[in-house]
Amino acid sequence: MSASRTIPSAEARAGGILRYTFGERLIHWIAAFSYVYDLVTGLSFWSPYLFLGAAAAGGGPTARFWHPWLGVLFAATMVWMYAMWCGDMATSDADRAWWRARRHYIRNEDEKLPAIGRFNYGQKLFFRVMLWGIVLLLLSGVGLWLTDSIPWSLRWLRYLAILVHVIAALATMAGFIIHVYMGTAMVRGSFTSIVSGEVTPAWARMHHRLWYEQVTRPPSTRK
């Protein structure tokens, strides 16, 4: 499912470049739904001032019932995304050079950045935060889910589960805030790309030039 296998002229509509296949977009939105449900209900268990989230998600007991199951669903989408993107998410030398020059990216001085492949290093970091985050959230979440099955002599498992769940959740939330900000307000064209799948050639040249060159090369010259 990597981008090099897709032929833009065949799948994308006239003028656009296919950035995300239908399968990629679908799994992204399943992940987004399950994460947001657990974010909203999790924050309501975190602070009474945010309990309206649980009310909106079906009430406290309902939210407590679905929170772990949606967590399992989110973990499953992460497994899928890992299988789908692990090649694209590997760090390259171009990424290292890009990361050193990240202040230009932050200041919108994109012309000073080195050319990079399908994902930039920030996206790769976000992917890793979510990947390791869900590993920790799932492990600690099982301890909180079945907390009454833990015997008194192993009660330290409950304390560990609380600590790990809170820290991992906050880490994913930090990534999530940046992800949503950049995907909607900051990087114009990226939100439509995860809905329709398409980006303009100019967008692809500006943000992911190496990927652009790879996917627009005539099929016969591809490796």
């Binding site: 909180l144 009660r155 900000y181 900051m186």
Partner: protein, 296 residues
Amino acid sequence: MSQATLRIQKISGHPGPVPGAGTQRDLQVCKLVDVTTCIGCKACEVACLEWNGLPYATTSFDNTYQTMPETTWNFWNLIKFSEHQQENGTLMWLMRKDQCMHCAEPGCLMACPADGAIVQYDNGIVDFQQANCIGCGYCIAGCPFNIPKFNSHTKKVFKCTLCADRVAEGLEPACIKACPTGCLHFGTKSDMAGLAEARARQLREHSGFANAGVYDPPGVGGTGVIYVLHDAANPEAYGGLPKDPRIPWVVRLWKGPAKWVGNLALAGGLVAAAVHYMRFGPKRAPEDESRKGERP
């Protein structure tokens, strides 16, 4: 001890202070358990089941005089039995009535995220309100005494109520009513503390128990159930009564500093995104030759 003592003093998961807090003079109630005069008859266990209308709980025989290993969601009052060898080689049967301690600073209440699922009345009784319970089980982690127990069918947590319904009507709890030896007493906290101290002094001065004392652990702000022990230096011998119970440090960290650090970090992230947008604005790709006239 009237209905007025059931005014709510502390409340779980509630945004803001307790409505009506501090509007009345407090009157703390307390149960005194003198373990030195308990004969292990278990009348209190039966009285608890009877008064609270609890369904039958399976008992298990483990070659001791203990009904089951620990309290359950439908068995709130358990006599813990221990065979204890003293330093001089003699044997003692220790019987300790185990139930909710009704801590002045309840760890269950601190850990609970559900508005009003756990309350502490002005009289000091810590009570679970199952109608508001969401079944998360955080109270189980918050308790230093292993008391809240989960019903996996209803997904609610239960424990001893100190017979708040009886206390509200000016009656003593059912367990106290049933005790045949007078090892259980009920009254105000100050009266019970005085009685306990007097009994401990009697044990030290006249019965040869040099370490006799009162168990009213300060780590949880004192408790609404206090014990007279023959050996107050070794509460663990009495069916694992913790020596210095405290709300687990993870729970205190989580509900204290971690909450503020986490909230500030989240708010900081949102503010930083907004400030970045105002300072640098969106990142736009140059208009595409092939898409002129279309909206991106």
